[in-house]
Structure formats: C-alpha cells, structure tokens
Symmetry: D2
Subunit: 351 residues, 4 copies
C-alpha cells in the first residue's frame, strides 16, 4: 500500500509499505478523510526525535476493512472515527484517570509517534472496541474527522479551564485548537470570551465560534489589553493554545488569583516554560496550572459526534483547503508556512 512518510528528519514522501497486521482485539480501517495537523509538521522537523520512514498523520475517519477475533462491536464496512490518541485502557495510568498517559508520558499518542500514522491506504487500530466509534448517519466524514483531535483537544482546553458559568476566559491563539477552545468555552458556559489573535480570517472565525472580543497583539501588549478590558481584575481562566513560553507567561499574568491556566499548546522549544514569579503570587495566589493531551477513546468520540449530530458546532468552517492524498505534500507545505490563510487542509483519500 502507499503511505505518506517522514523518510528522515525534514524529508517527506510516498513509500510502498506492507498492509498492517493486527492482533485479536484490533482493527484495520481504510481512511476516507483526514486532516493535517501542525504537530505533523513539528514531527517532520524532529519534535519527537528522529524517525525513519514513519507514516505520518493522526486525524482520520474511514471504513473498517477487518477486525480481530475478539472485537465485538465493529465489523467490516462500518463507518468509524478513530481517536488521534488510542490509549491502553488497562494500563495503570488509565486506571488512574489519565488514559492519554498510558504506559509513559503521552503514551496514548501512538500514530506517527511510536507506530505508523494514518496517511496510508490502511491504518491499524489497537483495541478497536475501546478506541473506535461509529459515525452517526447524519454526520459527514468531513465533520467527523474533526472529533479525532481538534474538537477533543480544543474542548479539553476549555474543560480543564474550570470556567464558572458566566465567567470570563482569555484564549491565546486562534489556530484550530484555539478556535475549538473558544467554541468549547461557549459550551462550558463562559460569559465573556476574549480571543487573542492577529490573523484576520482567524479573528473572524473566532467571533463566529463565540469570541466576544478580539485582542490583537499587534495593537500592543495583550496583558495590558486584557487587564484593561477587565478593570485590572484579570480573567477567571486563560487558555494557552499556541505552545510558547511567552504566551504561557501572559496567561499567568492575566489570570486572577484563584483562577486557572489551561495549557493545550504543544511546547516544542526551550529548556523551560516560565512562570512569572510575582504575578504567580510568589507561589501562593492559587492560580492552578493544568495541562492535557487530546482525550481519546470510544466514549469521548461518541459524545463529540453527538454534538455534531445535534448541530451544536460546525467544525468544517475551519476547512480552508482540500487535497487528494496524492497532493498531501502541498498541505504539509502550507501548514508549515501558514500561507494562503490556511487553517485546516482536508485530505480526501478517495480521489
């Protein structure tokens, strides 16, 4: 089969590979739609270390090709979503309430990390009964593929923020994760949502997803702007959806004592992420800092798919581009340069 791989650090291309094999609890799916993630680009540039001919991609929906002998709830032909994160549910970390950390830090993240990813004709799914979900009839593949990572991760950013009903939240960066954190904040009852972003089409989409105000950091220090908007009180919660220490520091600074900083950005560089000591109340201001990795699993997928079925959210507004699988390298290129106002490129496996 054809697979789009990271040949080595910085190099991508198609490669002929064997169809994956599976164990008794697993499944093989044929992808229909996929999305390219900025973290795929990070991976190519070495964020998870060197890899050789590793298939890329982790956001995909498709049709079941075959299932192992102990799989009970899925069969060939079923239309399914597979989480970007596919935990080992029996691991002690999962038993402890942290399935995304199963077996090791970020251990639930397998695709294009510790095993081949999803940009291939066939994709392996571990523990199919636990890590797949049927896509409801009224939900399109394009909609559904957003639950695998963007909605799950962005909403997690909002859930971890412990936003009180009617509370005020600032969301730093409105890429696809930030946009879904903005929508997630609406779904958690936020009363005031301040989105920090400078790119016009992202600002506009942020408003569509529920942002009440936009802070453009090109107009001045976002900390000053947010403190000004909140009568110097700060926000109940700040969400970091970019992955830079500078932005994280701003989150700590704009959060009121007793508030929460929720990190869902991938911090790819530097030895440290810095907490500003004074604004952190010298370690005593009760500003909790929470982090998370995209929640996976059948139940999570089912619940997010249900939000699509009920038309509570339309993630397809983020699809700015569409490519057949053969042209996926162009999608990678755009995600790297962020040219052409790209937000999310949809990959069509059937054309």
């Amino acid at each position: 089969m054809q697979a789009f791989v990271m040949e080595e650090l910085g190099e991508v291309g198609f490669l002929e590979k064997d169809k994956p094999e599976m164990g008794p609890a697993d499944a093989i799916i044929r992808p229909t739609k996929g999305l390219v993630c900025t973290s795929d680009v990070h991976t190519v540039h070495g964020a998870v270390g060197e890899r050789e001919n590793l298939t890329l991609g982790h956001e995909v929906v498709g049709v079941i090709e075959s299932v192992g002998e102990t799989v009970e709830d899925f069969e060939p032909g079923d239309r399914v979503a597979v989480g970007a994160i596919t935990p080992d549910w029996g691991s002690t970390a999962a038993q402890d309430g942290h399935p995304s950390q199963s077996n090791q830090a970020l251990g639930g993240w397998k695709y294009a990390n510790v095993k081949d990813g999803t940009f291939a004709e066939y994709v392996h799914v571990n523990d199919a009964d636990a890590n797949l979900a049927h896509i409801p009839e009224s939900v399109s593949d394009e909609e559904a593929v957003y639950v695998t990572d963007m909605m799950s991760t962005g909403f997690m950013g909002a859930e971890n923020a412990d936003i009180p009903i009617g509370g005020t939240v600032a969301i730093f960066a409105q890429g696809p994760v930030g946009l879904m954190a903005t929508k997630g904040a609406v779904l958690q009852g936020a009363g005031r949502i301040i989105a920090v972003e400078t790119v016009p089409n992202r600002q506009e989409l942020a408003r569509e997803y529920g942002a009440d105000e936009i802070v453009d950091f090109e107009d001045g220090d976002p900390v000053e702007q947010i403190m000004g908007l909140t009568d110097d009180e700060g926000v109940d919660a700040a969400i970091e959806a970019l992955g830079r220490s500078e932005t994280f520091e701003q989150c700590v600074k704009v959060t009121k004592p007793g508030g929460t900083i929720s990190n869902c950005g991938y911090h790819g560089e530097g030895e440290y992420v810095n907490i500003p000591r004074e604004e952190w109340g010298v370690g005593m201001a009760e500003k909790d800092i929470k982090t998370g990795l995209c929640p996976g699993g059948r139940l999570r997928l089912q619940r997010l798919l249900r939000l699509l079925e009920a038309d509570r959210v339309d993630p397809t507004k983020m699809t700015t581009h569409e490519f057949p699988l053969e042209e996926i390298d162009e999608a990678f290129h755009l995600m790297e340069t962020k040219e052409d106002d790209i937000i999310k490129p949809l990959i069509d496996f059937d054309n």
Copy 2:
C-alpha cells in the same frame, strides 16, 4: 409603605408597614420589577409553616434608596439585582462552600421565610457589598430579575448534574426552573437534552431553550420512553425540576450507572422521597444524588448578568403575563391554578 403579605395561612393582601431599618453593612432598595415564584404560593399554603403578615416575594431588581455606613461599592440611585438567597458569608457553612445553608439548612433563604420579602415599596438587603450586583446598562430590568432565582436555580440544576461535554441529560418538568435547567444544560455542553413535559407552550419553549427531544408523560411511562430513546443505556444525568417523589424515582431509574441525579425541585410533601432500591444498584451503582438551593451572592449575580449582556440567553421568553403591583393577587391566583398557560408573571412596581 404598602406591602403584599401573607396575613395568615392561605390569606394574602396588602398591608401598610413601616419602612425597613438597616444595619451598617446593609442597604434599602426600591423594587422596579419582580417575579412571582411558585414557591411563594407554597409558602402561602404553609410549606414553611405559619406566618403572620409576612411580606411575600424574593425575586426582585430595583434602585438603591440608601446604604449603611460601611457599604463601599454601592450608593443611592444604583440600579441593582438582589439575590433571592442572601447568605451570611462569614458563617461556617459559607466557609465550607455552602453559603445557601448559612447558619441552618436553607439559611441563606431569608426573604419571605425568616424576614419580610420583596413585594413592598422598600426592601432590606443584608450585607449589601456581598449580596447585590450592579445591572449592566444594556440589560433591562425585566431580563435582570431572572438572575435572582430562575437562572441561578435552573443553571445550578445543570451544573450539579456534572454533564460531560456531549453527554445526554433528561430534565423532568419544564416550568421556569426546568426551562432554565434546559438552557443550563446547553451551557454545560450537553449533546442530547431530553425534556419531560406535557404542557404545549412549555414543550415549545423547552425546544427553544435547547431540548432536542420532548417526552410527554401522557404518551406513556417516561422511564420507558427515555430508556427506549437511549437504547436502554440511560442518561448521563437526570435533573428533577418538579419536586415530587415519583419524578425523583424516575430520575434514578433513567440514570445510567456512574451517572448523576441533580435535584432542584422543592419537595413539599410526604415523609419520604424514595430511592428505587434495585435501579439504584442496591446502593452500589455509583449514581450520585446532588441537591442545591439557589446560589446567591454578588459574584454569582454578576456572572449571570454577564450572560445576559452577552446575549447567551433570553429569559424573558418565560414572561407570559405582566401585572402592576396592585394586581399581584391575580398573579398569585394564576400561579396557583397554572391557568392561561402561565409560566412567569412579571410584576411592575412603577405602574
């Protein structure tokens, strides 16, 4: 001043009373808009025991007439909302996170319970800095009066239900509290909202506030209907917004193991509220039962007012009737009979 009182059990009428006095931390307000609550009717019929010439009412907004000497953040002329529940914030119950229970069970509920209520020309507010909130300019008095009880109580019903994002919730009864629980469920990220109600205009309003499906108990056992809708799996959470043991039992029955029953109904009758033993998993099915009394306090009011300012909710759809203060007895009459499809009667103090 004129006050609308419960003269004795079952008897209401207007009475001339002295203007209330206040302590150093208190305030006096002149109401502009109020709402009659079904619990006012319960009170008249003896739900809190006998009372003599007790002024009725607990849902009101108005203008500050005067403030005590230690009040810092409010002054005469300010347009304010006052919570139906006005806790003693220094009490140990409040220190323990339960301000509505300050000093005794339901002790934060003072109006028309342990002191004169709000259907009078002047109303006393204890601890003004902690129990009042300024009404934002863009929010009308009619909108604002809904935060004092209906929004706070109904939303609490949804908050206590611990609805997972995308989860399924059943809400029993769509009176004003149930309707706000329905809207609250949307604001907590519910993916599927099943409202149980039989009155047509309430069913319609339930859909407007976010119910995806309506279960009419005149069409058959609501438990069977809900189990049918959910493939016999049950719901993640059930909200009791009526206050009857029978409805509470149904809540326990339709909730899946590990789910939550959130009670916000006022149980006015009977020695017991019954938990069905078997469907409760013989005491081991991890179905939590939570209760609450309308959260009060300045912060709560501010956050709910913010939701109005941001147009996240329009509670005025529930205003089916409007009366000047002089005709409030007609509002009480309708709330008792539920005639004329009444949901909430607005009382206008200025006409």
Copy 3:
C-alpha cells in the same frame, strides 16, 4: 478440581469441576488464602437471583498457575492478589471513570455473580495485567487478602465521604466494611470519628482502628445521640456500612447541610431506600448522596498493598476465625448467624 458451590438457592457444598480455561490476556491462579464475605451468604440466599452450581467466593490471594500469551507483567509462580472486582477496562463505563460498573450496573463484579468464584483449586482472572498485583515480600498472604475487598470497599466508603481534614464523621455499623471505613476515615484526616455499633468486640476493634466515640443504638436513638454529641450541628459526613433503609435514613438525618452521605452497604431488601424529606432540606440542603462498589484493578491493589507494606494498617485484627478449605461450610454458617463474635473467617487453601 474441587469447588465450593451454591448448588441452588440455600444449598452449598463441594463439587468436582473442570479447571477453568483462559483467553490470551487472562491468568489462572491457585488460591492460598481467602475470606468469606457476608455478601457470599446473601448470594446463597438469592440476593443476585437463582444460580446452579456456581462456585462461591470473591476474596482471594494466591500463586499464578499459568498466563495467556499476551500477558506481560506476570508469570507462573508469582504471588498475587486479585481484586474482588475485575473490571473490563476498555468499556465505556471504565472510560467514564466507573470501572466497577463496566458493561452494566455492578458489571465489574464477576466472581460468584456472573462467573465462578474463588473458593476452588483454580481461579480464572480476566485481563491479568490490569487486574492482578504482585504482593510485596514483607506482606503476608493473610494481610494481602484484605485488600481484595474489605480494605478497598471500606476505604472507598471513607473516600466518597469527602471528609474535610479535621472533620467529623459518623460510621453506621462496624462489620468488616465499617471497620475499614473507620480506618479509612483516619487515613482521610477525620478529626472526630463516631462509630455506631452494639457488639462489644466490634466496638473495641472500632476504637483500635480509630473511632473516638461509640454510639450504641441499644442505648437509644442513634440520631439523637449523634446530634447530642455534635451540639445539634450534625456531622460533616455519614457512612452507611450496613445496607438497611433505616440506617440510611439515620445517615441523612445526622448529616449537616452541605455534608455528604456515603453509602457502602449492600441494600438487599425492600422496594425503596428512603430519604427523609424534611431532614433532606426538602431537596435543597446540599446533602450529597454517594454510592460505590469496591474499586478493583491493579493500581488500586498496589496502593492498598503499599499501605500494608508501610504498616499503616493491620487488617488481620479482623480475622476472628480460621478454617481449612474443607471446613468452609462452617465459616459460611458462622457468617450467617454471626455467632461466636465472628468478624472475618480466614480460609486456608493449603491445609
């Protein structure tokens, strides 16, 4: 192999059975020590319905006889504890944080319920890597067998009670689960522990495990006694460790507004468990009611075994009797009559 079975309702005896078979992720163990549980007696009398020749027992430790091909962390000869509850960790209930409810209400409870129990020469363990734990060298088999149910269940009763550090808790009944709830309350930081019990050797053991005061219900209404001890304020938390509606009602009555009722008793009889309406604050006093079924799983077992290793608790004080497997019917007889001051009978499989 020999197995001690429930032949039919009310009848027990030994039976020759085939050695259990196992799947690729499972294990077979040879028990060394076991404990008889009052719930075994309930089962014999029909609490979970009719059964035919079902092997009894669910509290056991032993040595691994064989493991399936995908088991990674255990091998023949290992000394292990197996939880009374052995969840399916991939189930949606487990993904939702409720492994004991996997697949159905109480679905994690398999032994002597939906499959053969542990009073046999060989015992089947599903998902061995997730449901077994190695017993540390310094911990004896007799100590270890208490983690499988008594410590896990009793401690859960205390954990669910949300006892504030220094708080006051009342624990109703001091059978083995109640005694471990008492010890659990100490380990959750309770400042005052009131144990309700009438049997002298249980009262004494309650004190040894940390009870500060004993309320003997033969000395008068326990509600009155507890309210008297607490200046009519009530307790922060009440734990029901008996499984009777009457006791449950007392728990609701003695709990202060804003407090918690934690149920860990098995309610075996009656259509309803009753909540006293008035003392429940007419459904608004914020008295949460929580339930649970013994938490299982490798991590839970490991952590409880660690408490034994660190000498934080000595559960063997509860061993009042000891029998070889051949005489287990005598243990069942005593657990039914509670004669001879029995608390827990230890079963020795090797003699």
Copy 4:
C-alpha cells in the same frame, strides 16, 4: 503598648504604640503564645516591600480583651486562636472559594503585611465571628498556636497534592511547613512518603511525622534518588515546601504523568519559577500545578484544633526554642541563621 516592629528594611526593635481600635464586627485579643515564622524574616528583608514601624508576627493565640457590638459568639476572657490569614468573607474571591485571595492576590494575609502584626500586647482581629475559634480545654496554648499557620499551611500542601489513598508522595524540605506537609500526607492516606532534607534533626522529625524514606540531597541529585526509589516511575505527587525554582523544577521532574505538584513554598526571589519543558511532557503530561496560601477562618481553625484534641498530631515536637517576648529578637536572629538546629521558636507573652 509595646510592639515588636520592623522599623525599616532590615531593622527590628520594640516600639510604644497605641492600642488598636476596632469596628463593630471586630475583636481585640491579648496574645499568650506566638511563633516566629521564616516569612517574618523575609518581611524584614523586604519581601513584601518597604514598611515603617510595622508590627511583626502572624502566628498567635490569646485571650479576648474586647469585642465589637455585632460580635455574637465570642466575649472577653475567651481563649482563642486567630488565623494567620483573616479573610474578608464577603469578597468575591471568597465567594469564589478563594478566601485567602480576598480583594487582591494574597489579600487574606493582613498581619505584618497590610496592617500591624501580632507581636504586641494587643492585636486587632477583623470579623471576629468568622476569623476566631475557641481553643478546646484539653488543648494547650502551645499546641493551639500551630494551627494558625504551620498546620494549616502544611496540611494544605498535602490536601492540594491530591494524594490517592496508598499513593506515593515526595516532600521537598522539612522545615516546619514541610514537616506538617509530611504529617498531612499521612492524614491524606499516603502509602509512601519520601522526604527530601539534609539537616539531621529535621530528618529525624520527618520520620516521626511519617516519612518512610529520607532523601538527602547531599548524597546526590534528589531527582535521580527519587526516580531510583520508584523504579523510574516517579511519584503521584510532589510537594514544594522550600520556595526555590530549583526545588520546584525537581518536583516537576519526579512527578509521574497525571500526577500533581503542590507548591506551598514562598518563592521570594527571581523573575521566574521554571517549569522544565521536557519533563512537563511539552505541556501535555497532565502534571497539574497547584498553589495555595494558608487557609484561614473559624471553620478551618476549629477542624485543626479538633485534630489536636483527638491527639492525631503533636506539633509541639517542632518547638526547639522558647523565648519571652522581650527576647524575641534572638528568635528572629536564629530563624535567619538557622543556627542551633532551630525549627520553631515559641514566644511566651506572659513572662
């Protein structure tokens, strides 16, 4: 009256001051016993900025001299403890569950910060009914004075750590706060407590309060030692009780994915407290970071006093020195140099 003050940066001494005045809800107490805190020394050196003739001290018990007219539960002659933190309970931060942050970051901390402290003949207490607690007869003044800060702060460190029952915790530094965090970990059910400390008498006391193992950082990198002790798995929770970025970083490093870092150290220096990016799982390893400031208030004091009454903890083991008020400067000197194996110096106001 005589007061021990910080005359200016770096200078302390006695000064004659007027007896404090009080408002209607306040009280004046005459201290009997006090403790000097390392943070007093920080204050003298400028940690909270410049001050002129500010009375020092915030840990004290005493006898009520007089109460304001609205105080209900206390009267002259009562023996009372007063929290180091005396929140404004009506503030929005307190309503939000963060009384220690009332009105501003760390705003509940008033003594020797925004008003005169406790090392004087008379001490002012704001909101006496909410911020004082009666000392039980069986509890000595010396015992009781530890609840005002050391027990409340140290226990908070353990409570915020979310230690699972039987879980593993590492506590960095065994000064008085760290020692009480160690004891607090026992009271939260920790199964394994690793204390990091190098001073012999503190190591010894750590063991007495419940540490199972001591890691001496003079024996090598504590991160390596702790990872070695835990089979490279790390701990469920790490508590920072020193207030240095280096120690904080070690806490992040030794905490397993999904674990908690609880900070109760006062970070007095540097622009940043650093989070090590990689060991923090690039912002996705679900290692929560929590902070807190000593919880105050009557309920907290009552519950901690109850633990003394029940002999659950003996804090007086930390009293290594005792001085009459006149010689308090010697206590300050020793707390600065940590000479003579000092842990806590008790101040006796009556001699």
